[in-house]
Subunit: 848 residues, 2 copies
C-alpha cells in the first residue's frame, strides 16, 4: 500500500513536470506524423513567377474535373503568401477551378480559406475588423468562402484551398515578416502545416488505397527563398520531405536556374518526380532531359497568355494533356514508393545479414523502415490502419556516431558533394591534399594537443585499434630490446610473446587483432583486470569496488561523491584508494616483468577512458585508470586510449583523456570524428612511437594500410565537424564557464536524473556528456548481453517516438553534441513515463 | 651493334606510332597545364543579364587604372559569346576601360580580339570577307584592334580583351551552335582556353611573385548554361577548376537563384571567393550572408542605370570602392592559396603517418601535392621556375579503387550530397533503408548471381575478409562437428585449430585476422601453396610452373597459349596439367584431413581469383584455382574468393569468378564497388553459410559489426556505380559480343602490348581488363617489394603526366571501367617512351 502510494506520488510529480514542460517548451519538438494514405507533393520553383500556381491549378483540375472524380478530394495548401490580399494563390486556384468546373459543366464543391495574417495584411483585407494596435503577432484571419457547382444525384468532388500565413508586402516572406511583424517559428509553421494536412484531408474521409485524395503544398518564390524566420524554404520543409515537382524556367538562361534549383533540392535529400517548364520557343527541355539522363520527366506547358484580361480558360484546356500526364506520373511515383516501402521489411529479412543480429529473432514486423533522417530524428514508415511516416528520436545516435543537428547535416551534405566533386578519391601515401592535411592539423591541435605529433588514418575503429597495437608492440620491443612476434619471419622462431593489458568489460572492435584486446581473448594474449566502476543510485554517485580492493583502510568519502565532478578531481590521487589501485596494478604487472621466466610480456595497455561503451555503459573509476597509466609508464609499457566511442564530445569534452587528466602514447578515434556520417578513423601517436618505425629500409615502416586511407570525403566531414562542434557560434552547447577547458553544458535535467536513479526498477544510472544510461534491475536469468528482458520497454519507446536498442538490460539515450537540453529532457520524460508502465506490467506479471 | 640497331628500329616504330596517334586522336587528351604565377578567376552568374561583364570591367579598372599599375597586365577572356557581333562583352570591356582611362586621365594600352566565329556571325561581322559556302566549322575571324592612352615617360598598363568563340544568335551557345554550325568539342575549347591563358599573360613577361598579372574568364549565361556541345559550362570548365566569383541576383527571388547557383558550383568542386549582387532595395545580401555563415563575402553594387544612353562612367566611379575591395579579396585568396600549396609538402611530412611508407625515404620534394582530381586525372601542383598546376593520369587508379570518369564523378558527387542530406547515417541492424536494400539487391543480382543469397556489409577489404573467415570457420565446424577456436570460452580449452589454405603471394588485408591468411602468417595458421602463374613474354602467353609440377607428361600446348582467351577455356580441365594440379592439392589437403592425428585442420580456402594484386600483379593459372576449388569442395572446406581487388570490372568482367568458371561459398568485395570514391565492403555468402549462424540464441549469431555498416553514402555510391558500369549507355566499354556475358572491350592496344612483352628490359607482361602490368628485368639485389630499382622510371613518368607507384619492380597502369581505349593507348605510348630512356640510362650505367 505504501509502495503504491509512493508510486502514485511519483507519477503525479512526473505529470506535473510533463504538463509544465509540455505546453511551454516542447511543442516544437512534438513528433511529426505525415499521412501516406494519399499522395502529397510539394511544388517548388527555380524562381518567382514561373507559374507554380498554374501548375497547382492544372493538377487540381486534372484530379477533380473528370467524369470519374465524384468522390475525390484535393487539398491545396499555400503556407506562405506575400503581397496579400491583392495576391492570393489559394484564391486564384479556388476561383479558376470553380470557373473551369462551370465551363466544363462538371460538379465541384470548393472552399477557400485564409488562416492567419500579419496585422497590416489583416487590416488591408478586413479594414473594419482589425484595429490599429501594434501587434507583432500573426492575426487569426479566419476567412472562409465556398462555392458549389452541383449536379443532381451526383456527389461533387471537393477542393479545399487554403493559405496558412499571409503578409501584405510583395516581398520575400522573411523581409515581409520583418517589416510587418508576424514572425513565425520554423517548428510552428511545420507543425501547423502537418495539422492542416491531416485535418484537411485525412479526417475528411479519404479511404486507404482508393487514391481519392491528393494534396499539394505550394512554396513561395524559389526553392531557396527564405521563409518568415529567414530559414530557406528547402531547409524549413525538410522534416516533412514530401516528394516534389519543380517548376523550372523555359526562358533564356532558364536551363541553368532549373538545374541549380534541382541540385539544391537533391542536396537536401528531396526527391523530384517531374520538372515543368513553360514553352518560350527555346526548347530548354532538350538539354534538361539530356543532363538529367531521362531520370526526371520534363513537361512543357504552352506559352502562358500575357494579357491580364485573359481568363486562361483556353490555356487550361490546351494544357489539359500535360497536366493529366503530370498527375499520372505523380500518382505512379506515389504508388511505386508505397509498394517499395511495404515490401522493404520482408526483403530486408531475405537479403541482409545484419551485424550482431540473430535473424531468427527478427520477424519482418519488427524491422524498422527508415525513410530518412533529419538531425536527431529518424522518419520511420509505419502501417497501423493507415500508412504514415512518423518521427523517432534516434536514441542510439545511430549507434554512437551521430552528431549533426539538421543544420549541420545540410552543411555536411554540401561538403560531401564538394569533396567528391573536387577529389573523388585520391590515394594517400606520399601525397598531400587539403582535406587530409586540414583534418590532421585539427586532430593534432584538438584531441592530440600536447602529446600527439602524427596521424595515421584508417577506416574504422577496429582497424585503428589494430594499427595502435602494432605501434605499441613495436615501441615496446624496441624499448626492451626484444623481437616481437609480429616481426618474426616464421612461426616456429622462438621469441617473446607480447600481450595486451586491458580491462574486463572492454570492447575494441571485432577484427581478430582488436578482439585479442578484450576478454575473452581468443588466443589468450591478454591480461584482463576487473575495474572498479562508478554510477548513481538513489541520487548518489558511488564507486563499486571488485573484491580485491575491499579494505578496512577505506573511508566512506573514498567511495561516495557529493557530485559527479568530484569523481574526476585530481586530489583523489592522494586518497587511500589510489594507493590500493596502484599496488594492485603493480603486482599484476610484476608477473610479466622482463625479469620473469615466462616468454610472455605485457607490450601495451589499452583501455576506453572513463566509459566502457559496448560493455554496458560502465563508468570506470577515473582514478583507477589514472593509476593504471602511471604504473604502465613506470614499466615503459605504451599506453593506448581507445577513444573511438568516447572521443569528440561524446562524454562532454572533446577527448575523454581530458577527464582522466593524463595523456596516452597512442589514441584511436572514429565514429563521431566525422560528425557521424561517414566512416573514418585515426590512430594518433607521439613522436617516440613514430620514431620506432623510422629507418633506412621500407621493411621497418608500418606496413599496414587501406585503399581509402584519409579519403577526401571522410577528412572533409571530420574537418567540418571538429570545427563545428567546438565553435560556440555553431554549437550552442559549448561552454567554458567552469574552467579554461571547453565542455558541453549539462544536457540531462538534474532533477529527472535523480528521480531515475531512485526508481525501484533501476539498479544504476550513468550520465555524462551526450550519454544517459540506466540499467534495469533484473534477475540473474534476465541479465547479460543476450537478455530479452527489456524488449517490451523498447517496443513501447519506439511507439512513443524514441528509437532505442538496448545493451542487454541497459537502456540508453544518446544525443549529439549540438542537441538542445530541451530535446534531451523531452526524451527523458517519455522514457520515465514508459518505464512506469513497464514496471507496472512487470509487477503485475510477477504477482500473477 | 646489332642490339643498337634493333633498339633504333624499335624507337623508330614507336615514333611513327606516336606521330600517327598523336595528331589525329590524342589532342584532346594532352596534358593541361595551368599557370599559377598570377591569379586567374572565372566569373560565374546565377542567371543571364546580371552584370558579369560589368564586374569584369570593374575588376580590370581596379587592377589597371591606378597610379601604381604601370607594369600590370590584365587578361579578359570570353570563351563563348552569342548574339555576336551586336553583343560583344570583350568589346564592351575594351571600350569601357579605354573610356575610363581617358576620363580618369590614366595611361592604358588596350587590345581587343575575336578569334573564331560561326559563319553567320562572321558574315554579319565582315560581310565582304566571308562567302556563302556552307561551312559547319568555326571560321578564323582573326579580328584585332587596339587603343593607346599614353603618358610621356610612363609605361602603360595593358589590357588584353578577347573573345574566343562567337555565334550570331542571341541564344544559349548549344542552341546557337546547333543552328549556325560551329560545333566545338569540349576538349578543344578547354585546350584553346588553356593556350590563350598561357600566351596571353605568361609569355607576356609577367614576373613571378610580383602580382602584376590578373586574369578573368567570363562564362556565358548561368553556371549551368550549356556550352556549344551541350555540356553544362560548370562541367565543361571543371578540368581547369579556377576559383570563381559568382554574380548573384539582387532582385525578388534572387536569393534562391544565387544560393542554388553557389551550390551547383560547390557540387562540382569549385571554390567561390566572393558573391556580387546589384542593389535592388531588397537587401538580399543579408540572408545570403547569414546562410553562407560569412564564409563567402557578399558585395553589393549600386543600382545599374537602365537608360541605354548612359555611358556608366559615373556608375563605375560610384562602384570603385566595391571593385577595389572585391579585387583585394581575390588577390588575398590567391596569395592564401599559394601559401598553402607551397607549405603542404613540408607539413604533410611533419604530421602524416602514411601507410606502407618509410618516411625517412620521402623528402618534401618528392611529395605530390594534389589540388583536385577530375575523372582519371590528378591536378598536381608543381613549382619549376614558375608555379603551375598540371594533370597526371592516375595510373594507380587511386590505389585500385578508382572508377569514375568525369561525368560519373559529378553524378556521384550529387548522389553523395543527396544521401548525406536524406539519411546522414542510419544504424543498420534490424533496420532497412533504400540505399542499403538497393545495393544488396544489385550485389545479389550481379556479382552474387547464381550462388549468394546474403550480404554482410563492412567498411573495407580487411574487415570483409575477417568476416569471411569467421563465416567459413563456423560453417566448417558445424559441417565437421567440431568446436572452432573462435568459439571457445577460454584459451586453455583444448580444441581443433582451424587453418586457412591460401596461395603464396596473396594479400588479403592488414588486420591480424586477414594477415593470418597470407604468407608469412604471423601465428602460422596457414597452409600456403605455391601457385603456377601465367604471363606474356616475347609475345606469348605462358604458364610458369613451380618445380613440383614439372613432369614429363606435359606437352607444350599444356603450358603455352595462342591467345589470352585460351587460358580461360574450360576444356583445359581435361589436360594433363589439370590432373597434376588436382593430385598435388589433394595430397596437400590429406595432411590435414579429419582422420589425421594433428589437432589442426584446414577450415577455409581463401584466394584472389585470377590476379594476385599486391603480391605483384601475378596472374595465377585459372586452371589451378579451379582444381583447388574442386578439391576443397570435395573435402567440404568452404571456399572464399577475395574479390576486393578483382571485383567490379577490374579484370574486364563484373566478377573475376566469371573468368574462373566456378563460384565460391563466400566472396568479399570492396574498392571499386562504390565506384572508388568512398569506403564500403561486402561479404556475400550462400544460404548454407548463413544457416550455420541461425538459431534461437543471439550468441549463435555472427557477433561482428561496425558502426557504419551499410552506411547510406557508401551504399548509394555502390548502387549508382554498379548500375553505371554495366549499362552500355553510360559505359561505352561494355560489350557482350563474344558471349552472353557482359565484358569490357579490350582497352590495351594489342600491338603495343606485344612490343612491351618483347622488350629486353621487361621480364613479363600481364594485361587483363583495366590492368596493364609489367615486371622490369632486374638483378636479384634489385628485386622484391622494397626495391628502389624502378624509382627513376617512376620519376620520369610523373614528369610526363603519369602518376605511378611501383610494386617493387612491377610497374602498372590501371584505368577505370569507363576509361576510353584511346586514353589507355596514350599512357602506354608514354610508358614505352620512358622505358626506352630508362633502359638507355641503365645500360650506360652498366657500361660505366
Amino acid at each position: 500500500m505504501l509502495l503504491r502510494r509512493h508510486h502514485h506520488h511519483r507519477l503525479f510529480r512526473l505529470r506535473l513536470l510533463l504538463l509544465h514542460h509540455h505546453h511551454h517548451q516542447f511543442q516544437s519538438f512534438s513528433t511529426l506524423t505525415i499521412p501516406l494514405s494519399h499522395p502529397t507533393y510539394i511544388i517548388w520553383s527555380s524562381n518567382t513567377s514561373l507559374g507554380k500556381t498554374l501548375v497547382s491549378t492544372g493538377l487540381s483540375s486534372s484530379f477533380l474535373l473528370s467524369p470519374s472524380s465524384s468522390s475525390k478530394k484535393f487539398l491545396y495548401l499555400k503556407p506562405l503568401q506575400t503581397g496579400f490580399p491583392s495576391d492570393s494563390d489559394s484564391r486564384f486556384l479556388f476561383q479558376k477551378l470553380s470557373s473551369l468546373s462551370l465551363s466544363r459543366n462538371l460538379p465541384l464543391f470548393s472552399s477557400h480559406s485564409v488562416l492567419l495574417s500579419s496585422l497590416p495584411a489583416a487590416k488591408s483585407f478586413k479594414p473594419n475588423e482589425f484595429s490599429l494596435n501594434e501587434s507583432r503577432e500573426m492575426c487569426e484571419l479566419g476567412f472562409y468562402e465556398e462555392k458549389k457547382v452541383l449536379e443532381a444525384g451526383r456527389v461533387a468532388p471537393e477542393l479545399v484551398s487554403e493559405t496558412i500565413y499571409a503578409w501584405e508586402g510583395a516581398l520575400s516572406p522573411h523581409f515581409a515578416a520583418e517589416r510587418e511583424g508576424g514572425a513565425v517559428e520554423d517548428s510552428e509553421l511545420v507543425k501547423r502545416l502537418e495539422t492542416r494536412l491531416k485535418e484537411g484531408l485525412l479526417e475528411g474521409g479519404v479511404e486507404r488505397g482508393k487514391l481519392d485524395g491528393f494534396c499539394v503544398v505550394e512554396t513561395a518564390g524559389g526553392v531557396a527563398s527564405p521563409g518568415p524566420s529567414g530559414t530557406l524554404q528547402c531547409d524549413l520543409y525538410r522534416p516533412l520531405r514530401f516528394p516534389g515537382v519543380l517548376v523550372g524556367d523555359g526562358r533564356l538562361g532558364g536551363i541553368s536556374g532549373t538545374i541549380s534549383a534541382y541540385e539544391s533540392l537533391k542536396l537536401r535529400g528531396y526527391d523530384v518526380v517531374a520538372i515543368v517548364i513553360e514553352d518560350h520557343g527555346l526548347i530548354n527541355e532538350i538539354p534538361l532531359k539530356s543532363y538529367l539522363r531521362s531520370r526526371v520527366p520534363v513537361f512543357v506547358l504552352p506559352p502562358i497568355p500575357q494579357d491580364p484580361s485573359n481568363d486562361l480558360m483556353e490555356w487550361f484546356d490546351e494544357s489539359c494533356n500535360v497536366f493529366n500526364s503530370l498527375k499520372d506520373i505523380m500518382l505512379e511515383a506515389y504508388l511505386e514508393r508505397m509498394r517499395r516501402l511495404n515490401e522493404m521489411p520482408r526483403k530486408a529479412g531475405d537479403v541482409f545479414w545484419w551485424p550482431f543480429t540473430q535473424h531468427k529473432l527478427v520477424p519482418p514486423s519488427t524491422v524498422t523502415v527508415i525513410d530518412s533522417r533529419c538531425g536527431e530524428n529518424f522518419s520511420v514508415y509505419k502501417v497501423q490502419n493507415k500508412e504514415y511516416i512518423t518521427q523517432q528520436f534516434d536514441a542510439c545516435a545511430s549507434w554512437w556516431t551521430q552528431g549533426p543537428d539538421a543544420t549541420l547535416q545540410t552543411e555536411l551534405a554540401r561538403d560531401m558533394g564538394y569533396a567528391a566533386a573536387r577529389f573523388g578519391h585520391v590515394m594517400f601515401p606520399e601525397n598531400v591534399y587539403e582535406p587530409a592535411l586540414e583534418c590532421a592539423e585539427l586532430l593534432l591541435d584538438g584531441v592530440g594537443k600536447g602529446w600527439a605529433t602524427r596521424v595515421y588514418f584508417s577506416d574504422n575503429g577496429s582497424t585503428a585499434i589494430e594499427i595502435a597495437l602494432k605501434m605499441a608492440f613495436r615501441k615496446f620491443s624496441s624499448d626492451h630490446g626484444i623481437l616481437p612476434e609480429l616481426l618474426k619471419n616464421n612461426p616456429t622462431e622462438s621469441c617473446t610473446e607480447l600481450m595486451v593489458l586491458a580491462l574486463k568489460g572492454s570492447y575494441h572492435g571485432d577484427t581478430l587483432g582488436a578482439m585479442e584486446a578484450q576478454a575473452p581473448s581468443y588466443t589468450g594474449r591478454g591480461l584482463f583486470l576487473d575495474p572498479p566502476t562508478v554510477f548513481m543510485h538513489n541520487g548518489k554517485w558511488t564507486v563499486s569496488l571488485p573484491e580485491v580492493f575491499h579494505s578496512a583502510t577505506l573511508k566512506p568519502e573514498d567511495t561516495t561523491f557529493r557530485s559527479r565532478d568530484e569523481i574526476f578531481l585530481k586530489s583523489r590521487d592522494e586518497s587511500n584508494l589510489a594507493g590500493l589501485y596502484s599496488l594492485y596494478v603493480s603486482q599484476q604487472l610484476s608477473q610479466y616483468s622482463t625479469l620473469s621466466e615466462t616468454n610472455k610480456q605485457i607490450g601495451a595497455l589499452i583501455m576506453e577512458p572513463i566509459i566502457q561503451g559496448a560493455g554496458g555503459m560502465h563508468m570506470v573509476d577515473p582514478l583507477f585508470q589514472r593509476m593504471l597509466v602511471n604504473e604502465c609508464r613506470h614499466c615503459r609499457i605504451p599506453v593506448i586510449f581507445d577513444e573511438v566511442f568516447t572521443g569528440f564530445w561524446r562524454l562532454g569534452v572533446e577527448s575523454a583523456a581530458e577527464l582522466l587528466g593524463c595523456v596516452p602514447d597512442i589514441a584511436c578515434f572514429g565514429k563521431l570524428m566525422t560528425g557521424g556520417i561517414i566512416p573514418l578513423a585515426a590512430t594518433m601517436a607521439t613522436d617516440a612511437i613514430f620514431d620506432s618505425f623510422t629507418g633506412d629500409s621500407k621493411l621497418k615502416a608500418l606496413l599496414h594500410g587501406h585503399s581509402y586511407s584519409a579519403h577526401a570525403m571522410g577528412c572533409t566531414a571530420a574537418a567540418k565537424s571538429i570545427k563545428w562542434f567546438k565553435d560556440p557560434n555553431t554549437n550552442l552547447n559549448i561552454t567554458s564557464e567552469k574552467s579554461q577547458k571547453m565542455m558541453l553544458r549539462e544536457l540531462w535535467d538534474a532533477e529527472l536524473v535523480q528521480q531515475f536513479s531512485s526508481h525501484p526498477s533501476i539498479s544504476r544510472v550513468v550520465t555524462l556528456g551526450t550519454l544517459f544510461a540506466l540499467e534495469l534491475q533484473a534477475d540473474e536469468s534476465d541479465a547479460g548481453y543476450a537478455s530479452l528482458y527489456a524488449r517490451s520497454l523498447v517496443q513501447m519507446l519506439r511507439e512513443d517516438g524514441i528509437y532505442t536498442r538496448p545493451l542487454g538490460n541497459v537502456i540508453y539515450v544518446m544525443c549529439g553534441p549540438c542537441t538542445s537540453p530541451k530535446m534531451c529532457t523531452l526524451q527523458l520524460l517519455k522514457l520515465y513515463t514508459k518505464l512506469e508502465e513497464f514496471t507496472l506490467v512487470k509487477t503485475k506479471m510477477n504477482i500473477i
